[in-house]
């Protein structure tokens, strides 16, 4: 809690990490589903929990935040750039450069080694590659992150498929954090872990994120995690889902 407050205080003057305004979106080919967000603002370095059950539009909202899809109308300002106004290719590059993304499970390419999985984003993000290289080389930085997250150095060459679920999530966290992207977006990253592992995982993730003042946006329906965040937003309060028939 203390570092969270510190992080926020230190960067209060900076522009918000994420700011949505009057966003409307529907999936192509699914006219019966529409999502609208009037306003959402996440400060730089803030840790925000988006709480809501499945079906509340969280996947769609995360896809919009990360620029996988563009809204029908409205603006999505991320680090001062309007994603809505960027062509798809530029959004993809922007996502690779500024976002670290964690899924609920199956985060890793099973046939690739742990090391290959961690350095994967660097291939698409020259800025992150440069930052990782400045910290003693990409492989060394990947090894340090794995070490910090409790993955034995001996596992770096192993196939990702051979790790336990908990280990896989920590490798995924290392991948999300490598090259110090400004924002980490996580979609229920701890739901596959037991309670002790959940806490340990969040400890490691937050400690590493705090080092570089990374903004963390996490989706979860697990209210018990709320205490670990600067702010908890109920998805139902910020996003409106309309379902036709």
């Amino acid at each position: 809690m203390a570092d969270g407050a510190l992080g926020r205080a230190a960067t209060a003057a900076a522009p918000p990490a994420i700011e949505l305004h009057a966003v409307r979106f529907h999936w192509r080919g699914r006219p019966s589903f529409a999502l609208s967000v009037d306003t959402l603002r996440v400060e730089h370095g803030e840790r925000v929990l988006l709480a809501g059950p499945s079906g509340s539009g969280k996947s769609t909202l995360l896809s919009l935040l990360c620029g996988v899809v563009a809204p029908d109308s409205g603006t999505i300002q991320v680090l001062g750039t309007d994603l809505a106004g960027l062509p798809g290719t530029r959004r993809d590059r922007f996502r690779g450069e500024h976002f670290g993304i964690l899924f609920q499970m199956f985060n890793l390419l099973p046939y690739a080694s742990v090391m290959d999985n961690v350095v994967l984003p660097l291939h698409f993000a020259p800025g992150r590659r440069r930052r990782a290289a400045e910290r003693g080389g990409t492989a060394a930085e990947a090894a340090r992150l794995l070490e910090t997250l409790g993955i034995n150095a001996g596992l770096a060459r192993a196939d990702a498929a051979r790790l336990s679920v908990g280990q896989q999530q920590r490798v995924a966290a290392a991948r999300a954090l490598i090259g110090a992207p400004e924002i980490v977006v996580a979609d229920e990253p701890t739901s596959a872990l037991d309670r002790d592992s959940q806490q340990a995982f969040l400890d490691l993730l937050f400690a590493e994120a705090a080092r570089v003042a990374t903004t963390v946006v996490m989706v979860s329906h697990d209210a018990s995690l709320a205490g670990r965040f600067d702010r908890v937003l109920r998805l139902a309060d910020i996003a409106r889902v309309e379902r036709g028939h």
Partner: protein
């Protein structure tokens, strides 16, 4: 790195990938093999006769005459009288005439009764003449000249004594075993039916039949070789004749004269024209084979597209991960297309390797059994074009699953809906 990951992904599915490559390889081998045999057969046939302006035989189809007189395939329906042959040979347009008498065999090799002019005038493969590996043309009644394959298969050398059988077939009950022939010469390899022939004089053909009638030996009429030499051995008829003209321009005139010959029904063909006629018959079968083998390639490529499509669902996660770290949909499309291209390229490479291996093994057999010489040459421009076509087809087949993957990855956004 992405290429390395794509290869790892493929290696992860090695069994399906392996079978797909194998299917493509076999289809490529079939397609190129058909082409190789086709061009090999055509070249072998076209190279068999050269420098002969007309082929003369009894009345029959031109292709039939060409087949039995030159390729020793099938049998003559009728013989032509020796007096007729002599009359045609004496025409002013005719430069040379080489008679051919067929119908007997020696341990499965055809016996060709002819004159010494055969070794002088017979030409193959763009005007190459026959050469002697050993010895000389036959000079005596009981001398024979054998082709290269006969000598190699039966281990004959100049000076060996051989027995000549009446009729065709490797073994014959009616053996002319009382007339031992001496090998006078062994011809150098030509890659034509000449290699598989035993050549003797026309008189020798008459001689081995002198005490035979109706396929059986006349009892009590056992002549010694010395008694045979004393007889008049002028042939009564021959099977066909090769004719060379002073001027090619007169070929059609001589051909018409022969075809309208009043005393006996005859046929004369220009070898080139008869070959074209043969191609037009064989061409239909060739086209059918080519179409079937092309369809096999198409089937293999569609199989590959199906294989990739089938793996798409389980690979949606993989694509979502790549998208999440900043890969464009175009990268996903490129990956899948590259996978198809790599599988096709591997299939083509393995198929070509299989083909040359198969050629290496079957070449001597095909040469010996069918007289078709299959060269072990690099792919021809036509085959190269076929290979490029297959590669292009593979990439095109890869576009089907790639576009589906594109649609999926756009529709999924970042989170795979399961």
């Amino acid at each position: 790195m992405i290429v390395r990951l794509a290869l790892k992904s493929l290696a992860n599915r090695w069994l399906t990938a392996f079978l797909t490559v194998l299917a493509i390889a076999f289809s490529v081998m079939l397609l190129l093999g058909v082409e190789k045999v086709r061009t090999g057969a055509r070249a072998s046939f076209a190279d068999t006769i050269s420098g002969t302006d007309l082929i003369l035989g009894a009345r029959s189809g031109g292709v039939n005459l060409l087949l039995y007189a030159v390729f020793r395939i099938g049998n003559a329906t009728n013989n032509i009288r020796w007096s007729t042959v002599q009359e045609i040979a004496s025409r002013p347009e005719v430069a040379w005439l080489v008679p051919i008498s067929l119908g007997d065999s020696h341990l499965g090799f055809r016996i060709v009764g002819t004159t010494a002019g055969y070794f002088e005038h017979y030409r193959y493969r763009r005007d190459q003449g026959l050469a002697f590996a050993e010895g000389r043309p036959f000079a005596d009644l009981f001398e024979a000249v054998v082709g290269a394959d006969v000598a190699a298969d039966l281990g004959y050398r100049v000076g060996d004594h051989v027995v000549v059988a009446h009729g065709l077939g490797a073994t014959s009950f009616a053996m002319h075993n009382d007339k031992p022939f001496t090998i006078a010469g062994v011809l150098a390899k030509t890659g034509t039916p000449v290699d598989r022939s035993v050549h003797v004089s026309l008189e020798a053909i008459t001689a081995i039949h002198v005490d035979w009638q109706g396929g059986a030996r006349i009892p009590g009429l056992g002549l010694t070789p010395e008694q045979v030499r004393a007889l008049d051995l002028t042939p009564k008829d021959v099977t066909a004749a090769l004719i060379g003209l002073h001027s090619r321009l007169t070929a059609f005139r001589v051909q018409r004269a022969i075809n309208e010959y009043a005393a006996e029904p005859l046929t004369a063909v220009l070898p080139g024209v008869a070959l074209l006629e043969l191609w037009s018959i064989v061409g239909t079968a060739e086209s059918a084979l080519a179409i079937v083998s092309a369809l096999t390639v198409l089937t293999a490529l569609l199989g590959m597209a199906t294989m990739i499509l089938a793996t798409l669902n389980e690979r949606r996660r993989e694509m979502a991960i790549l998208r999440s770290v900043g890969a464009r949909p175009a990268t996903i499309v490129g990956l899948l297309t590259a996978e198809a291209a790599a599988l096709t390229a591997a299939g083509v490479a393995v198929g070509v390797a299989f083909l040359y291996l198969a050629l290496l093994v079957t070449r001597p057999i095909v040469d010996a059994r069918f007289g078709i010489y299959l060269p072990l040459a690099a792919p021809s421009p036509r085959e190269g074009l076929a290979i490029l076509g297959i590669l292009a087809g593979g990439v095109a087949a890869g576009v089907i699953p790639a576009l589906r993957a594109y649609r999926l990855s756009v529709a999924d956004g970042m989170m795979v809906r399961t």
